[in-house]
């Protein structure tokens, strides 16, 4: 049985926001952290990451700035803006609602007459 789940479309943004909320990261770091916090169950297609980051920056949910990484190399770091934090909260709540609704729907038993 596969321990890996397929990523539902639209959830990449949410994962990125969550990952960055735990501390500002560069692109590769975000990738690693998502893998880490999902305990390896979610693997992100590397090519899809940067367009998503680009989009989130344009929407004003992330802020990007150049800095130096641990091995003295230039890297672009992303952090949440206040709008991003708000969006993360909203999406999280929405996700929880969805999960509980799906859960109760799927747990329905045939009615006993």
């Amino acid at each position: 049985m596969s321990t890996q789940a397929d990523l539902l479309p639209g959830t990449l943004d949410l994962l990125i926001l969550k990952a960055v909320s735990l501390g500002s990261l560069h692109g590769y770091g975000i990738l690693l952290r998502i893998e880490q916090i999902s305990r390896g169950a979610l693997l992100i297609e590397q090519g899809a990451l940067y367009p998503a980051l680009f989009r989130l920056v344009r929407q004003g949910l992330l802020k990007a700035s150049w800095g130096t990484s641990d091995n003295n190399r230039r890297a672009k770091y992303y952090e949440l803006t206040s709008a991003g934090r708000k969006r993360l909260r909203e999406e999280h709540e929405g996700w929880n609602r969805l999960v509980s609704a799906m859960g109760s729907a799927l747990a329905a038993e045939p009615e006993r007459s």
């Binding site: 560069h26 692109g27 590769y28 590397q46 090519g47 367009p51 990484s69 190399r73 890297a75």
Partner: protein, 885 residues
């Protein structure tokens, strides 16, 4: 919105910087991944490779990022445009042909549309111009369909109708202005005092008439803008100054605005005096403004009932009716048929041009099948492809539209020479002046719209084609693509048929028009119109102390003018007449009875046209004398009254009996002396070259003098050469006599044939263009078909086919399509030429000879267009053809 624009700007100007940053970021990512992989034990090169594989294509990532930039679509648009321009440069023959064809179609349409817009669609600068109607009276029993009403009619209508908000009465006339330099004949308008209010006129300076200023003792006058500019150099000091008009002193009280000249091209305007108005007996003009809730039909019926009632009250109005025509419509009645014809013709031309361009684009797209297939293989979506094609075709269309506009400007300039500045009002002996053509904003908008629309339609054609593209085949060397399949050929075939049909219709129209116009010009008007000069003289007798109030003196004065003119070398003969034939100057008709015949039954009248002429009129005009004698100088007021009648009169009223020596009594004035018919002359066309002659009675001018008459002079040299001498001769008799309406007869005739001339000229040009375009189109399609079948032709030749057989094969294939097109065109023409009958003169709209000739011509042209590529086909070298897979 603002942030969007800001981002747009930023990405436009910092594109390369963004690109470089993204590059660096992606590279760093891959490097880090490689580092991690190296740490987990792989060698450096292997770690690099795996990291790169895992990431995928950085180019694709960059592309996806760039796609999100707001400037992205602009960037791609710009690159598409650059690509399109490269394509055009590469195949410049295609580009030039397409642009020129489009320019022709769009340019011709713009020119005609601006003509139609200027003439037919312009609203008059008058208050509620769409509710203004012209009211004529009519007496159909006498064959008079539109007569100017009398002052009493106006008063009756004003009192007794409810359909109109207001009624306006006017009279055209001329007057003599003296007292400042050379005496000048001016054109004038006498109006009811509601002039300014009726039309919503705001004077440029001063004021217009007040409603109560209806007495002659006021003698007020308003000047037109043009006259004020010409005579007074637009000086504001002209107000309240005096002016001598017809020997009387008038006070100038105002200046009219310049845009009024389109409707009333006169110099001066004076008000009606109330007494004068009641006595003004006919040939006036009446306009009415309908109430907003009343339509034309309701007003017409009300007036019909009223005229019936009036005919009981006024015996002179028995059998008279009224005719209402909207003013805007009446003004363009004459010129509307040819203009509508032109619209249809130029539309056909545009369709042919479009068919040609569509053909061109289809063939061009075929040549690009490999490129298109490659794009699809590389992942281009239909949307992207469609955008590329749309951009290409829109660029072509805009280029065509721009060149078309230039062409239209030139055409309008040329057309303006042929469009007359004034056109007749049919059946009403009146003229209307036309504004000059110019390209206006709606026309520019129309051109732009057509160009963009063409661009859209043509762009979609290759797209629809690509949908059926087999990418694999196309990528191979032998790629001929879907356009060569049955679908493409069907489209081409349809285009050829459509073009042939349209060309047929246009050439038929032109052919009919050519015949009609030449027959019109060849019509014998009953007199010799060659080298004939006409001018008009009005003896100024409006002044109270004028010497010309005595009829004998009027007659004698004209005789002195005549004697002086006849003495001019270069004048072969001269005479005076009340009305020049075909000139639409005025009408003179009335009722009469034949003394020797029983009177007509009650309710019926005999009516005819009258003309007062000097004895030399008939020799000068070269109107033949058929029976009896002409007038002599003895036929004056001291001698018995005589008349001449024309042949139409004799046929109408005397049948087979002799007319000579019978007597007519004409209801002119108080006394009705019997007038003896002393001769019969030939009939003359008076109302138009395409009209029937009307019965006419001629009176000697010495027995029926007029205040104004026209001189007709036959000159040995061209009339304009002799004109100065004639003018001088008149001035030796009276140096203050103004002369006006100077027109050679040729000019008069060209004036009344202007509608047919316009149709004739433009239709011919369009037909020629259509024929040329259709020929090019047929040539193109046949040429292409030959190219497609080169292999097949090679095979046939190897199998023994002769060159002549190949020739026949190709030509027949092309001609098959053309024949279908000609048949379609034939049927279409049979239906459509019916619409032309108004313009056609003595030619049937379904003239079989014309139809046959045009069919033959078209087949000939098409055969030639097919022959040239066919010859190429026949010369094909079989071995090369076979190699061509």
């Amino acid at each position: 919105m603002l942030s969007y624009l800001r981002q747009l700007f930023f990405s436009l100007f910092h594109g390369t910087q963004l690109d470089a940053e993204l590059d660096e970021e992606l590279r760093a990512h891959i490097t880090r991944h490689a580092d991690d992989l190296e740490r987990s034990g792989l060698s450096r090169p292997e770690a690099d490779r795996q990291a790169r594989l895992a990431f995928g294509s950085p180019a694709k990532t960059k592309e996806q990022c760039r796609e999100q930039l707001p400037a992205f679509w602009l960037e791609t648009l710009w690159s598409d445009v650059r690509f399109a321009l490269r394509i055009f440069r590469k195949s410049h023959a295609f580009t030039i042909t397409a642009v020129l064809t489009l320019a022709l179609g769009i340019g011709a349409n713009t020119a005609i549309f601006s003509l139609v817009d200027t003439v037919l669609l312009q609203h008059l600068p008058l208050r509620a111009s769409n509710r203004l109607v012209v009211i004529w009276i009519s007496n159909l029993k006498n064959g008079w369909s539109r007569i100017g009403p009398a002052g009493q009619d106006y008063l009756d209508w004003k009192d007794q109708t409810r359909s109109f908000e207001d009624l306006f009465l006017f009279e055209h006339g001329t007057g003599t202005v003296t007292g400042a330099g050379e005496p000048e004949q001016v054109s004038g308008l006498r109006v009811t005092t509601n002039f300014a209010d009726f039309f919503g006129i705001r004077p440029l300076l001063g004021r217009c008439f007040r409603l109560d200023e209806t007495s002659a003792k006021h003698n007020l006058v308003v000047l037109s803008y043009a006259y004020w500019k010409r005579r007074y150099a637009a000086s504001p000091a002209v107000l309240d100054q005096a002016m001598t008009l017809n020997g009387e002193t008038y006070t100038i009280i105002g200046i009219l605005p310049s845009d009024l000249a389109t409707v009333f091209p006169v110099d001066v305007v004076v008000p009606f005096d109330n007494d004068w108005l009641k006595r003004a007996d006919s040939d006036l003009g009446v306009f009415g403004r309908l109430r907003p809730d009343v339509n034309l039909r309701q007003a017409s019926s009300e007036l019909e009932v009223l005229m019936e009632r009036i005919s009981h009250q006024r015996p002179d109005r028995k059998d008279y009716g009224a005719v209402l025509v909207p003013l805007e419509s009446a003004r363009v009645e004459y010129i509307r048929p040819p203009l509508l014809l032109l619209l249809v013709a130029v539309g056909c031309l545009l369709l042919i041009a479009c068919a040609n361009v569509a053909n061109l684009l289809l063939s061009h797209a075929v040549g690009r099948q490999r490129e298109i297939a490659a794009r699809i293989a590389l992942g281009a979506g239909i949307a992207r492809l469609a955008r590329q094609f749309l951009i290409e075709s829109t660029l072509l269309a805009l280029a065509g539209g721009a060149s078309g506009l230039l062409l239209a400007l030139w055409t309008t300039y040329v057309l303006a020479r042929f469009i007359p500045s004034r056109i007749p009002v049919p059946n009403a002996a009146d003229y209307v002046s036309l504004p000059s053509i110019h390209i206006s904003t709606p026309v520019l908008g129309f051109t732009l719209f057509i160009s963009l629309f063409m661009g859209l339609v043509f762009g979609l054609l290759p797209v629809l084609q690509s949908l059926h593209l087999n990418v694999n085949d196309a990528l191979k060397e032998a790629g001929r693509g879907s356009s060569s399949g049955p679908r493409g050929n069907r489209t081409r075939a349809t285009l050829v048929i459509v073009e042939s049909a349209l060309a047929f219709v246009l050439v038929i129209g032109a052919g009919l028009m050519v015949q009609s116009f030449s027959r019109l010009l060849q019509t014998n008007p009953g007199f010799n119109s060659d080298h004939l000069l006409t001018l008009r003289i009005k003896l100024p007798n409006d002044a109270k102390d004028s010497p010309y109030k005595e009829p004998r003196l009027q007659a004698a004065t004209f005789q002195r003018f005549l004697t002086a003119v006849q003495a001019v070398p270069g004048v072969q003969s001269a005479a005076f007449t009340e009305i020049v034939p075909l000139s639409q100057d005025e009408m003179d008709m009335g009722q009469f009875i034949i003394q020797e015949e029983p009177p007509p039954p009650p309710g019926q009248h005999l009516a005819t046209d009258f003309r007062d002429v000097t004895p030399d009129y008939f020799p000068t005009m070269q109107i033949p004398l058929l029976q009896g004698r002409l007038f002599t100088e003895h036929d004056n007021l001291d001698n018995p009254r005589v008349v001449l009648v024309d042949q139409t009169f004799v046929r109408r009223f005397f049948r087979d009996q002799k007319a000579l020596a019978k007597h007519l009594r004409i209801s002119y004035g108080a006394t009705q002396p019997p007038r003896e018919i002393v001769g019969v002359v030939g009939s003359v066309l008076d109302t138009g070259l395409d009209q029937q002659p009307r019965p006419t009675v001629y009176l000697p001018s010495s027995q029926s003098p007029d205040q104004s008459m026209s001189l007709v002079a036959r000159t040995a040299l061209p009339p304009s050469a002799v004109l100065p001498a004639i003018k001088n001769a008149i001035w030796t008799v009276d140096k203050d006599q103004p002369i006006f309406n100077i027109r050679p007869m040729d000019e008069i005739i060209s004036g009344i044939t202007s509608a047919q001339r316009i149709a004739f000229l433009t239709l011919d040009v369009f037909a020629l263009l259509a024929l040329a375009l259709a020929a090019i189109g047929i040539y193109g399609v046949t040429s292409y078909a030959v190219g497609q079948r080169v292999h097949e032709i090679g095979v046939r030749m190897v199998l023994g086919a002769q060159r002549s057989e190949i020739l026949r094969l190709v030509v027949f294939h092309g001609m098959k399509l053309v024949s279908v097109g000609v048949l379609v065109g034939l049927f279409a023409s049979l239906l459509l030429t019916r619409l032309m009958t108004g313009l056609l003169f003595s030619v049937s709209a379904t003239d079989p000879l014309t139809f046959a000739a045009v069919a033959f011509l078209l087949v000939l042209v098409a055969a030639l267009a097919c022959y040239i590529p066919a010859r190429r086909a026949a010369r094909v070298d079989p071995t090369t053809a076979l190699r061509c897979e």
